[in-house]
């Protein structure tokens, strides 16, 4: 039996987490077992082009009004082919903070998602939101949380002692909420604590201003090797204002790092798997959480071990879930053939 060919389309090659995930899909043996995967980085003008030789197309594309005609063309040119969209960006938190006209935005999403045979939410939190807003019909919605190769993270020695070096890892963008974290960290007076911000981005200067005068806070720059960056911290904080899934949270759990996350969107999935969720998103709530984390004893260790055990299975779960989706849409592909015939007739 020949393996089906899956074509992954992506238009924003600067999205670090998405590109790492795609690189994992392209190269991981787990994924090679059930399909051949090709990744194509496309410009808007190329989104709708006719693709030969693919048995299924997976969109990791940005959904917006400007892309909508191209997505419609993509659908129209591949009438019988299974099309899947993975929603990497949009969430309730994103909508709350970035969308002035919510009704219009939901109309865009409903329209775009209806072009696909299946829509993949990257977290249960995001899927709940899609269901609540009626963005996708229940039978077309699947939750598959992304993963990357986690071997280098699970190989790290887990942290079961009270952590003193807190890491904030990710793009320096207002989405990540590192400004909240710095303000909160400064309220925690323990001189032994360290906060290490690892990354780069448009907010770098503003974050450095916020941190000025507190020698416990350092900036490490962009880390080309995420596992090496993780090895240098004893806990991870993710105070994101919105987050569809949060790959760094998965990596932190796999590395056995105690993890604090905001209680938003996909980050709630990590809380369900052993991370500590911080409610309220205020500076005081984060300061309190940092104090509790760094004073931590037995209960946290159990949570860290549980979170690590769950994360260790994430890579396999990721491949299995995609394999199941491909099987359902391609191999059960009589339906697709019939649609082709219907189209021809």
């Amino acid at each position: 039996m020949t393996l089906p060919t899956i074509l992954h389309l992506v238009d924003d090659a600067s999205a670090g987490g998405v590109m790492r995930m795609l690189s994992h899909i392209e190269t991981a043996p787990d994924f090679a077992r059930f399909a051949r995967h090709r990744v194509e980085v496309v410009s808007r003008s190329r989104i709708g082009a006719r693709r030969e030789g693919a048995d299924m197309i997976v969109s990791h594309l940005s959904v917006n009004w400007r892309n909508l005609p191209a997505l419609m063309t993509l659908r129209a040119r591949h009438p019988g082919l299974p099309l899947v969209h993975v929603e990497h960006s949009y969430t309730e938190g994103f909508t709350a903070l970035n969308v002035p006209r919510k009704g219009r935005f939901f109309t865009l999403l409903r329209t775009a998602y209806s072009l696909f045979d299946s829509v993949v939410a990257v977290s249960a939190g995001q899927a709940d939101w899609m269901t609540r807003r009626g963005l996708v019909s229940a039978d077309a919605l699947t939750v598959i949380s992304p993963a990357v190769g986690l071997g280098a993270f699970t190989a790290l020695r887990p942290v079961y002692h009270p952590p003193q070096v807190i890491g904030a890892i990710g793009r320096f963008d207002r989405q990540k909420g590192f400004d909240i974290l710095i303000a909160a960290f400064r309220k925690v007076e323990n001189p032994a604590l360290r906060l290490r911000l690892i990354g780069d981005g448009p907010e770098r200067a503003a974050l450095q201003d916020l941190a000025a005068g507190d020698p416990r806070i350092t900036f490490a720059g962009f880390a080309p090797d995420p596992a090496a960056a993780m090895a240098g911290v004893e806990a991870v904080a993710m105070p994101s204002r919105w987050e569809a899934y949060g790959l760094v949270s998965l990596e932190a759990r796999a590395a056995g790092r105690p993890l604090l996350t905001a209680r938003v969107d996909g980050l709630a999935d990590h809380a369900a798997a052993g991370a500590t969720a911080v409610s309220g998103q205020g500076v005081d709530a984060w300061a309190e959480a940092l104090r509790n984390l760094t004073d931590a004893d037995a209960p946290v260790r159990i949570a860290v071990a549980e979170a690590r055990a769950d994360a260790a299975r994430a890579e396999a779960r990721f491949a299995e879930s995609w394999s199941a989706l491909v099987t359902a849409l391609v191999s059960g592909g009589d339906a697709a053939q019939q649609r082709d015939l219907a189209q021809a007739a």
Binding site: A96, L97, K102, G103, D179, I180, S279, G280, D284, E288
Partner: protein
């Protein structure tokens, strides 16, 4: 499960609670319950509820936790998909609940449904003063500047929305929080703004003055310092959610807040304080002047007139002295 719950926070409201409950029991909507939270009253509030035998009423008694704490207890106990709030001294017009149920049924993306209010005095007489808020196209900036929801007896909330912001602060063992109980004032606007900045539910009003909001004059302007402090603490707490939003809108919102406090000082006949507040409002932002020139200029003129000798009597207009909980 009833379709709707009406939560009645009640603190020392024995005088007004019977009328409040009568107005709620007289709702034309069919399927609802009333959850009265006796918040550590020292008067006959609890006995009044116990004496009523209507099966739709439930009484919960607790040690005093304040207005936010009483509402939270009521929300925790409420079973309806929609939850209305009505303070123990305010009244609902008979069609209010039915109108909000119809609104929330018809508009599934709306999380907060509210209406305008008419002010009544201690004897429940209409004062001819209305809150006629903007009803449509309300975003976080409108909430912050003008709080169209208006008062704590105006909104009916969708349970599914409340579930999105429930949290359990350290030290709380009984139930979740929705309103932030560390606030004794500004707890309403803190909640509405937090909802607007962290969830994607829409806020929308329906026509009509469906709430009768009880006020009586005098004695509150001494409180303006604490009011303002609570408001500023609300801004400080929520600013990290969206710093750019607060940088853009806080000056105008602060000006409106100061003008509101100035009007209360005017009502109390406190000329110097009113004048001080009005000047501070204008120093913050000219937006109240540009957006609502008549109301702003009236406030300025009244404050100025009050600084004339013997003018204190002139300023008495309907204001917002709450009988039980201090007004937030």
């Amino acid at each position: 499960m009833p379709k709707a719950s009406i939560v009645v926070p009640a603190y020392n409201v024995a005088e007004t609670l019977p009328e409040t409950l009568s107005s709620l029991l007289a709702q034309t909507a069919q399927d609802f319950e009333i959850v009265v939270v006796d918040d550590g009253s020292t008067d006959a509030t609890a006995e009044i509820v116990q004496r009523l035998s209507d099966p739709r009423i439930r009484l919960i008694s607790q040690e005093n936790r304040g207005l936010a704490g009483a509402r939270n207890t009521g929300i925790a106990a409420a079973r309806g998909a929609y939850i209305g709030l009505c303070d123990g001294d305010d009244l609902w017009r008979p069609g209010k609940l039915a109108a909000h149920i119809a609104h929330l049924d018809a508009r599934p993306e709306v999380g907060i449904s509210y209406s305008g209010s008419e002010f009544i005095d201690a004897a429940s007489r209409p004062l001819g003063v209305f809150q006629r808020p903007r009803l449509r196209g309300v975003d976080a900036a409108h909430l912050f500047r003008r709080n169209p929801i208006g008062n704590g007896s105006a909104p009916v909330l969708r349970r599914a929305m409340l579930d999105r912001v429930a949290y359990r602060p350290a030290g709380e063992t009984q139930r979740d929080w929705w309103f932030d109980e560390t606030f004794r004032q500004s707890e309403d606007i803190e909640m509405w703004l937090r909802l607007a900045l962290t969830t994607d539910w829409e806020v929308e009003g329906i026509p009509g003055a469906l709430t009768l909001y009880r006020v009586n004059g005098g004695g509150l302007s001494a409180n303006t310092g604490r009011q303002l402090a609570a408001w500023e603490r609300m801004v400080e707490k929520l600013a990290p959610l969206n710093p750019a939003f607060f940088a853009a809108h806080a000056p105008a919102a602060r000006a409106y807040q100061l003008r509101y406090l100035a009007r209360r000082a005017v009502s109390d006949g406190d000329g110097p304080r009113a004048r001080d507040l009005v000047l501070r409002a204008l120093a913050c932002s000219r937006r109240p002047l540009a957006e609502e020139p008549a109301k702003t200029l009236t406030t300025c003129a009244a404050a100025a007139a009050l600084t004339l000798p013997g003018a204190a009597r002139l300023g008495r207009i309907a204001t917002q002295r709450r009988l039980s909980y201090p007004k937030g």
